[in-house]
């Protein structure tokens, strides 16, 4: 069961995140998808056999904005337009600090906006902090 979806195309970021999650024993609860199209396919249960149920909804989606094929904005828009998934918490994880990006994402229904940070003492562990809150504390109806 994947409670947390990380949608990220940058291999470096993926590797750092995977290590951080592994160090904190969260690797089994995380599913990594490498772009928006992959994320939408997974959430919509593409490639499932007839009668097979789609996977249960994740507790949170960590979504990068700049990705090839289908970018973060498109994923955000489609999830919010989908009756089944419109309440899934979405955290934007971006290297952008532009206020216009933040404003746009919140307007489109993002639940949180996190700027990618580099802490040489705890590489990638800010994602663990984010994950702990959404996995353990946050509740959805």
């Amino acid at each position: 069961m994947s409670d947390l979806l990380l949608v990220e195309d940058n291999l470096s970021d993926v590797m750092v995140a995977q290590r951080a999650f592994r160090l904190h024993g969260l690797e089994h609860r995380v599913k990594i998808l490498r772009d928006g199209a992959e994320a939408l396919d997974y959430l919509n249960g593409a490639g499932l056999e007839e009668g097979e149920d789609p996977p249960p909804l994740p507790k949170v989606v960590l979504l990068d904005l700049r990705m090839p094929r289908v970018d973060g904005r498109a994923v955000l828009r489609q999830l919010r337009a989908d009756a089944r998934m419109k309440e899934v918490p979405i955290v934007i994880v971006s290297s952008s600090r532009a206020e216009s990006d933040m404003r746009e994402c919140y307007r489109m229904g993002a639940n949180s906006f996190v700027v990618k940070s580099f802490d040489p003492k705890r590489p990638g562990e800010y994602l663990v902090d984010v994950a702990r809150y959404w996995l353990n504390l946050n509740r959805v109806p």
């Binding site: 470096s12 290297s95 990618k116 040489p120 590489p123």
Partner: protein
């Protein structure tokens, strides 16, 4: 010169007298035609007056009366109203109501009524001739009164209640009306007025007019009746007045003209030399004016071209600056990601595999980390510097005293309570962008605390002085100071006077300070000596000092 002028004056006076004589003769010959012309003008204006007065005042009053009371058939009602009308309009001498071609009621002033009775058959005949029963229109015909005067019988048909033919007939005596209209007009002129072919008016002057005079005639139409002709002729009196005036006018005119020409000659003689000189000067002036005008036009043209070019260049420059800023921003932004990866993997390498590396390997890894960190900090500085040039300035009154005190507290909290000794003097408020002013002082204060000998704790003095309209704030420290030869370089971007390892920072802080102060219309500079501390100055215009008119009122 004076004798010459005198003789000239005499000659001119003689010429003037000759001119007077000529003028007089001309006037004599023109007099007759002038009088006739005058008579024609007067006839025309009188005809206009007679036409409008009779049509609007007299016949109009009758039409209005008929419209109001024409239906009345009870003698007790009709007679008082008719009498009232006759009293108000003296030119009407009688009013009659005619039913089926018979006089039903008559009222009159003077002998008008009697005349109506006498002329009854003629009236009836006229009515039968000219007015069909039931039609509502008026007709006018001249009749001779018993006293010989010509009157007009005016007939107005009105619809009657029982369908019978009803008319109102009025006797109108033009002489009475014209007497009133022409009483004060055109004295000294003989006036006759004809209605159709009958003379209805003749003034006192006309009574004595000789038979052979030529009358000026003007004819005008009034309402439905016959034409009115006004005939005018100037009497001997009017002709005499003009004749008497003529020689006098000629003489006065002659003298005036002589005097005028004489004085002109005099002036022209005495000032001919000056005039020549002036003419010469004028030619020069005109040349100059032409040259100046030409030059001005040229300058205006050049200015316009220059302005257009400046505007064009400014636009292009602004575009370039905007592009540069965007480039700056996106480069800084895009480089962060790979730099972050370097930092992350260096950290992971040190943490996960550090044990397998020897001391040299770990030192190399540290160089990777510190270099990448330096680049990240450089990027941040670049972004901050870019922002300092891009962001809009929103000026407000800033309490500099409180601002500096809060920055001091921040410094002490960050570096330790004993790291710096602060001495803060009186700091007047500034009129500036609050966030930008905070950045300015924050950079200066943190520099003052930063550039100190290892293990030393510097004294930092912050104060101000007023210079005319401006306020100069200063931040003085007892730190390492600098060589005055490099005073200008201090404020350049990425300029550092010390090795990177020794003091943190990336050489952007003072560049930002200089840029922000400049954008506020002020100036930043520094004084110092190696080992003897440094003083940084920031000069800001006082509130509205540069761009407001209000401040000048207080000066």
């Amino acid at each position: 010169m004076r004798a010459g002028a005198f003789i000239s004056t005499l000659v001119i006076a003689g010429l003037g007298a000759g001119a007077s004589l000529l003028f007089w003769l001309t006037m004599q010959s023109q007099q007759t035609s002038e009088l006739e012309r005058d008579a024609a003008v007067i006839a025309s204006s009188l005809a206009h007056v007679v036409g409008t007065q009779i049509e609007e005042q007299e016949l109009g009053a009758l039409r209005r009366w008929v419209a109001a009371f024409g239906q009345e058939s009870d003698p007790k009602e009709w007679l008082p109203k008719a009498n009232l009308f006759l009293a108000d309009h003296p030119a009407f001498s009688a009013l009659a109501r005619i039913e089926d071609d018979r006089i039903a009621e008559v009222t009159a002033s003077g002998d008008g009524g009697e005349m109506l009775r006498v002329l009854e058959p003629r009236t009836a005949e006229l009515i039968a001739d000219q007015i069909s029963p039931g039609e509502s229109e008026s007709s006018v015909g001249p009749i001779r009164m018993p006293d010989g005067r010509i009157a007009l019988a005016i007939r107005v048909a009105t619809p009657s209640v029982d369908g019978g033919a009803r008319k109102i007939v009025a006797v109108f005596v033009p002489e009475i009306a014209l007497d009133r209209i022409l009483e004060r007009r055109a004295r000294s002129y003989a006036i006759r007025v004809l209605c159709g072919a009958e003379e209805v008016y003749r003034n006192a002057d006309a009574l004595g007019a000789p038979d052979d005079v030529v009358w000026a005639v003007e004819t005008v139409r009034a309402g439905a009746g016959p034409d009115w002709s006004v005939m005018v002729h100037a009497t001997e009196l009017a002709a005499g007045e003009i004749r008497r005036k003529a020689p006098l006018v000629a003489l006065v005119a002659g003298l005036l003209i002589s005097a005028l020409i004489a004085s002109l000659v005099h002036v022209s003689q005495t000032s001919r030399a000056r005039a020549a000189a002036l003419d010469y000067a004028n030619i020069g002036l005109r040349e100059q004016i032409r040259a100046t005008t030409h030059g001005e036009a040229e300058i205006r043209g050049l200015n316009a071209a220059l302005e257009a070019r400046v505007a064009e260049r400014t636009g292009a420059l602004q575009e370039t600056i905007a592009e540069l800023e965007t480039f700056n921003y996106s480069v800084s932004h895009d480089l962060r990601s790979p730099l972050g990866a370097i930092l992350n993997f260096a950290a992971i390498l040190a943490e996960d595999y550090g044990e397998r590396l020897d001391a040299t390997g770990r030192a190399y890894l540290e160089r990777i980390t510190s270099s990448a960190t330096g680049v990240v900090s450089l990027m941040d500085g670049l972004l901050a510097f870019s922002r300092s040039g891009r962001e809009e300035i929103h000026k407000a009154r800033v309490d500099v005293q409180r601002l500096v005190e809060s920055l001091r507290d921040e410094q002490l909290a960050a570096r330790g309570a004993g790291s710096c000794k602060f001495q803060i003097g009186d700091l007047p408020p500034a009129y500036a962008d609050p966030a930008m002013l905070r950045l300015i002082f924050s950079n200066l204060i943190s520099n003052a605390c930063k550039f100190v000998r290892k293990g030393d704790s510097p004294q930092v003095e912050i104060g101000s002085r007023v210079e005319g309209n401006d306020v100069v704030y200063f931040v003085r420290d007892t730190g390492i100071g600098f060589d005055m030869r490099f005073a200008e370089k201090l404020f350049g971007i990425f300029e550092r006077l010390h090795a990177g390892e020794e003091y943190e920072g990336h050489g952007v802080g003072l560049a930002i300070v200089a840029r922000l102060v400049r954008r506020h219309g002020g100036r930043a500079w520094a004084e110092g000596a190696v080992g003897k501390g440094a003083t940084f100055y920031v000069k800001l215009p006082a509130q509205n000092g540069r761009d407001g008119n209000v401040a000048f009122l207080y000066v």
